[in-house]
């Protein structure tokens, strides 16, 4: 876009930098000079000093300096700021002129060169006459200079040169053209920068010095001008703090000026410039709040300074520009690292700028509506002689006139007319849209989705005004769903109304229909008369006629649109529009409801479609069809009326295809489900309602699933919360809110009419062949066919159970691992009505625990539904939980021959193995036999025949067996020695003969075998008699490979007298046995303590008497002297 009147001049917006001109450089033909220039201007990053360089010829004419005014007494300024001033100091009047000259210190023709250089300096000085611009000389030298002070010729000649050129030593520089060019250049430009700063400092002093000559009455404008100049020079000097201070003063001074309609534009323009500078510097100083405060102050001060009413659009344009410029500054500061927040971001300023642009448009529309006959004035009052204004913000036809009275009212009128006519050509919409889209971008960044939507609506409306309907629709369509989803119906209606206009003007059929549908719907807040109009238009469109134009449309555009519509009508082609309604709120609502969540396959599936129209007039549709996930049912669920399109409006209140506003219509559908769909879900995937006729033009409203649109879920929620009583309605009518969508149903199999009984005796015993008797009886009226039985472990239980459970039909033999846990589809045959059959099943459970068993009976039967014969598959299942328990508990223990409990057995010494079999079964058990299978490490002492053959155990009874075993010496075995297995063969006592016997194998516990050094066993009678000799023989066996020293002593006992060795010490050779014979003579009757035998093994101190007592008896029963015997003896006597 080319800069308009309102855009700020570039010289205002740029960052002022010290202006330095370089002369004597031939950058075109001289490579060295080119390199020097490149080093100056290339890579000017932020770390380089802010200077703008320019190469000029040595004899360049600089702007002439006006002669110094000695007095301001008679001077009357003609304006605030000359339009050329800023540019002059940025680009025309240098702070420093640098003369480049190629001269080495050892130049042979030194004198000539020196004078040539002096001449060049003189020429420059000439053209700068009257200015304070500094001059500096740079000698480009081929040789690297010696360190300062060493080169005597150099210092001499330098002094001479300075003298010749009338330069101070500080203004003479040497630039050796060597490898380190950039380094030298940077040092050079730093020195230039110092000179430039001095120059601007003196300039500031110079401007300040004028102040004392000014007086407040005639020189008010000069106060502002000077203050601005000081601030601008400070900026050039890079003294931004002082610049800001001076701009602020200037700003206050501007507002002190006497404002009048004639100069208000000039004041506002300057105020805008200064404000811009202040805000810019505030952002630069990282004080954004100061910037915002200044801007607010600026706006508050200037908002009301409208100026000429006939040109009030200029004020709006100016305001718009202020906001836009501030937005730009703000945005720029953000790009440089400032953080903005949601409520204070550039978007607000762009938005406001757009708002003023809109106002400008409105004002321009009102003020510039001249007749076409009004022509642009000639000569053009806006033309000036130079083509530009002398002062910022003045009127071209009265430049420099300060008087508040209009000297030439006619001229003024013409000027205003010219401006108004020019304004008419401005494309306002373009400006507004640009500003709005800037704002949208900002609000998007600062998490303001709703603000963004609002601005997009405005953009859409602006496009609509600009007659770019495609773009307008695109934007409006985009934001519609935001308002819809949040339920702001007023806003949605307003957006839709604009969208409808756009689609009308473009004759976009589908959009036109869609927006009409929604504007007629319950979400629309339009008045009924509007709705009637839209409905009428919609029906017209459906009958392939042109709709009436939308109100408030541009008449020209309407004319174009009517032609477009006429074309549409004559054009054949796609005239069926399918509109998915789930994303908006159409004027017909739909709910589908199955009568039940499931249907048996032998009854027809029934469901209702409820329809309700919200439009003002009754509407007729031509077709209603329902689609299912199984598309075969679609054909059964269509209602269609063979009506002509023209009949849509007739017979409105009657006929089943007509929807009366506000009334809920119910349509019943039924169909018979396919037998293949048993167990499947039938789902309504969509409901299509056709408006208009398929032969003409029609709209298919498509509801996904069982109805419902963008607003219905919230409504349903509200309705469910509500506990308002609904008024009573006639029987066949329903409340819309009370209808709940039920879009799917299950097809389940026909109810079976057979009975399945299970007979069994729980609990099951581990590993037995458990008998389960299944009885099936038919109660059906007709024969049932293809009866099949599936029985066994119910799937879905613990996987281990499957392996430990077997099911078979044959009970006579034990089933093995190969049998399955579930027998499937055992054909059983047919069954006539009333008949019953039985089936025996055998289950073997390998582990204890409870199991669920399933008995599933399926069959086929022919039935008739709705005069249609179908074959139904019915099934009935029974589950039973069977607990499996151990039939008995087997306890095994090791005891010594004295029946004392043994923790370990001793090698080669006989011990007893006792088994105890305790029945845990609630049913009587028959132990068929038992068997002890010894491990090789064990050997029996006597026969191992079973002692419990054919024993019947009732619950809680037990059967014990005892085996005498011996374990030969083995080494030290970790964990003991295996004993063997105990095998019990058993069955239920109640079981039939052919039921196999079950063998339960019990693994006997391991036993720890220990070697002992000495085994002692005693031979003694089972009892003694008082005063009868009791011979006792102790056998001492040495079990070691060593000769053992044994100390034996017998302690006396009160109950006995005895003879034999009372204390002895002897040796027993390895593997041999020593016998000790004692003769006890009991003195008392009863259980008596035998005289205890103490053995002390010298080699084995561990061998204690405690251990010894395990092997030899410690007590004996002594019978009293037999009385019988006495009697006989008496008798004998």
């Amino acid at each position: 876009m080319s800069p308009t009147q309102w855009d700020f001049p570039v010289e205002l917006c740029c960052r002022p930098m010290a202006f330095v001109t370089l002369t004597g450089l031939d950058v075109v033909y001289n490579a060295v000079h080119r390199a020097v220039w490149d080093a100056f201007c290339a890579n000017r990053r932020a770390d380089r000093v802010p200077i703008s360089f320019k190469v000029l010829p040595g004899d360049h004419e600089y702007p002439k300096c006006r002669p110094k005014r000695t007095s301001y007494e008679w001077y009357i300024p003609k304006g605030i700021l000359k339009t050329g001033w800023m540019n002059k100091h940025l680009n025309l009047v240098p702070a420093l002129v640098v003369v480049f000259y190629e001269l080495d210190w050892d130049e042979p023709q030194w004198k000539e060169k020196q004078s040539e250089c002096a001449t060049r300096v003189e020429i420059v000085r000439q053209s700068l006459q009257g200015r304070n611009t500094k001059v500096a000389v740079v000698l480009i030298q081929k040789k690297t200079p010696l360190p300062p002070g060493e080169d005597v010729i150099a210092s001499e000649r330098a002094a001479a040169l300075c003298n010749a050129c009338e330069l101070s030593g500080k203004s003479l520089f040497v630039l050796p053209h060597t490898d380190h060019l950039v380094g030298y250049i940077i040092r050079l430009e730093n020195a230039f920068y110092e000179h430039a700063q001095t120059y601007y400092y003196t300039e500031i002093r110079r401007v300040k010095s004028h102040k004392e000559f000014l007086n407040k009455t005639t020189h008010q404008l000069l106060f502002v001008r000077h203050q601005f100049k000081i601030a601008f020079f400070s900026e050039l000097k890079q003294d931004t703090q002082n610049a800001l201070k001076n701009y602020r003063t200037a700003y206050n001074l501007v507002h002190e000026l006497r404002a009048h309609e004639t100069n208000i534009l000039e004041i506002k323009t300057m105020a805008g410039f200064i404000n811009y500078k202040i805000c810019r510097l505030c952002f630069q100083h990282n004080t954004p709040l100061d910037a915002i405060a200044q801007f607010r102050k600026h706006i508050d001060l200037c908002k009301k300074k409208i100026g000429s009413a006939e040109l009030s659009f200029e004020h709006a344009a100016w305001m718009s520009k202020q906001f836009q410029a501030f937005g730009d500054l703000f945005d720029e500061a953000i790009k440089l690292g400032l953080t903005a927040i949601q409520t204070q971001n550039p978007g607000f300023y762009y938005q406001q700028a757009a708002y003023y642009a809109q106002e400008r448009k409105q004002l321009a529309k009102a003020l510039c509506n001249h007749e076409a006959s009004v022509t642009y004035p000639n000569p053009d009052p806006l033309e000036t002689q130079t083509g530009v204004l002398d002062f910022y913000g003045q009127r071209p036809w009265r430049q420099g006139i300060l008087s508040f009275d209009l000297s030439d009212p006619e001229k003024e009128k013409v000027g205003i007319l010219a401006i108004q006519l020019k304004e008419r050509n401005v494309v306002h919409s373009e400006i507004i849209i640009t500003l709005l889209s800037n704002a949208v971008a900002q609000f998007k960044k600062y998490k303001c989705p709703r603000m963004k939507s609002h601005l997009m609506v405005q953009m859409g409306e602006e496009y609509y005004y600009a007659k770019d309907y495609t773009k307008a629709l695109k934007l409006l369509d985009y934001v519609m769903c935001d308002y819809r989803s949040e339920g702001w119906w007023t806003l949605l209606t307003s957006v839709l109304t604009t969208a409808l206009k756009c689609s009308y003007l473009m004759a976009q059929l589908k959009d036109y229909i869609t927006y009409s549908l929604e504007l007629l719907g319950r979400a629309s807040t339009l008045k009924d008369d509007q709705k009637s109009r839209i409905e009428k238009n919609l029906i017209n469109v459906l009958m392939n006629e042109s709709p009436d134009p939308e109100p408030d449309c541009d008449p020209l555009a309407v004319k174009t649109a009517q032609k477009l519509w006429a074309d549409r009508i004559s054009l054949a082609g796609s005239n069926v529009f399918t509109i998915g309604v789930q994303d908006f709120v159409p004027f017909v609502q739909c709910k589908a409801k199955f009568h039940a969540p499931s249907f048996h396959v032998d009854v027809p599936v029934q469901f209702d479609i409820y329809l309700k129209a919200d439009c003002p007039h009754p509407i007729r549709f031509s077709k209603l069809c329902v689609s299912f996930n199984n598309q075969e049912y679609n054909q059964f669920c269509v209602i269609q009326e063979a009506s002509k399109a023209s009949e849509v409006l007739e017979n409105l209140t009657q006929g089943k295809m007509c929807l009366v506003p506000g009334k809920t219509r119910k349509f019943l559908f039924k169909f018979i489900a396919k037998t293949e769909d048993v167990g499947k879900k039938i789902e309504i995937t969509s409901v299509d309602l056709v408006l208009g006729h398929e032969t003409g033009r029609c709209v298919v409203l498509n509801w996904q699933g069982g109805g419902g649109d963008a607003a219905s879920s919230q409504e349903a929620l509200q309705a469910s919360r509500s506990f308002k009583r609904r008024p009573k309605l006639p029987d066949h009518e329903v409340h819309w809110d009370s209808v709940l969508i039920q879009a799917n149903t299950m097809i389940i199999s026909r109810v079976p009419n057979i009975s399945v009984h299970l007979r069994h005796d729980p609990p099951a015993l581990t590993n037995e062949m458990y008998c389960l008797l299944v009885t099936i009886q038919s109660h059906e009226k007709t024969q049932i066919r293809d009866l099949k039985l599936t029985a066994g472990l119910k799937p879905g239980q613990d996987a281990n159970l499957t392996q430990k459970t077997q099911v078979t039909l044959h009970g006579t033999e034990l089933c093995d691992e190969s049998c399955p846990a579930l027998l499937t589809d055992i054909p059983v045959g047919d069954l006539n009505p009333g008949e019953q059959l039985e089936k025996m099943l055998y289950i073997r459970c390998g582990t204890v625990g409870s199991r669920m068993f399933l008995v599933y009976v399926s069959y086929l039967i022919n039935t008739t539904t709705e005069e249609k014969e179908i074959v139904c598959k019915c099934h009935k299942d029974e589950t039973v939980t069977i607990e499996t328990v151990f039939p008995f508990d087997v306890a095994v223990k090791f005891v010594s021959t004295k029946f004392e409990h043994l923790e370990r057995v001793y090698a080669d010494i006989p011990f007893l193995l006792m088994t105890d079999l305790l029945s845990a079964s609630p049913w009587a058990l028959t132990i068929v036999s038992s068997e002890l299978q010894l491990a090789p490490s064990m050997s029996p002492v006597d026969q191992l025949e079973s002692q419990v053959d054919q024993v019947v155990l009732q619950t809680g009874e037990s059967a014990s067996e005892c085996f005498c075993l011996r374990c030969p010496s083995v080494g030290n075995v970790e964990g003991g020695v295996a004993t063997g297995h105990y095998i019990i063969s058993w069955k239920r006592t109640s079981a039939m003969e052919n039921v196999p016997v079950i063998s339960t194998v019990i693994t006997l516990p391991h036993v720890i075998v220990e070697n002992i050094p000495l085994h002692v066993n005693a031979d003694l009678p089972s009892f003694g008699r008082v005063r009868e000799s009791l011979p006792v023989k102790y056998h001492l066996q040495n079990k070691t490979n060593l000769v053992q020293d044994v100390e034996i002593s017998v302690e006396p006992s009160d109950a006995f007298m005895f003879s034999g060795l009372k204390q002895i010490r002897l040796r027993i050779l390895p593997g041999t046995e020593q016998e000790m014979l004692y003769n006890f003579y009991p003195l008392m009757a009863g259980y008596q303590q035998l005289p205890s035998l103490n053995i002390n093994l010298l080699r084995f101190p561990n061998f204690t008497n405690q251990l010894l007592r395990r092997f030899i008896p410690t007590t004996i029963f002594v019978k009293p002297q037999g009385r019988l015997m006495d009697d006989t003896s008496i008798a004998a006597a």
Binding site: C448, H454, G487, W488, T490, L491
Partner: protein
């Protein structure tokens, strides 16, 4: 006094919205709707704060050239938005606050009505007249 008063449901749809002058109703609707951006942001920012210590009054939501928009959010996330003319400098923060409190009390009365279904548009006459009393009298 207020030029527009709105009650917004927890789900951000309007329960009640009234403005004077009537002819520019749409503008106020947009203004209230866009102010929800700021309400959302403020509510989510203080979401972590303890419920009983929370300040219901949200303060100035955002200023426009001509109006000031204030917000208030109840503990059940129902929002009250009030638009005040910028030129009306007589209104202090405290007055706005007390106006909101009055609005809240009246809203509570509406909610206590057993015939009012929460979430429906407010049609209470008492509430209406209370809002009227807070609005500028158009003469």
């Amino acid at each position: 006094m207020a030029v527009c008063v709105a009650v917004i449901a927890k789900e951000n749809y309007p329960l009640y919205i009234r403005s004077v002058p009537m002819e520019n109703e749409l503008k106020f609707h947009y203004m209230v709707h866009t102010s929800l951006d700021v309400v959302d942001e403020k509510v989510s920012a203080m979401g972590k704060a303890l419920v009983d210590q929370r300040e219901l009054y949200l303060g100035l939501l955002y200023p426009t050239e001509d109006y000031k928009v204030y917000g208030y959010v109840t503990n059940s996330k129902v929002k009250f938005v009030m638009v005040v003319d910028s030129s009306n400098t007589a209104l202090r923060d405290n007055e706005i606050r007390s106006m909101f409190r009055k609005l809240h009390n009246s809203y509570t009365d509406v909610m206590c009505n057993p015939f009012y279904n929460p979430g429906d548009r407010i049609q209470s006459r008492a509430f209406d007249s209370m809002v009227t009393s807070m609005m500028i009298q158009v003469c």
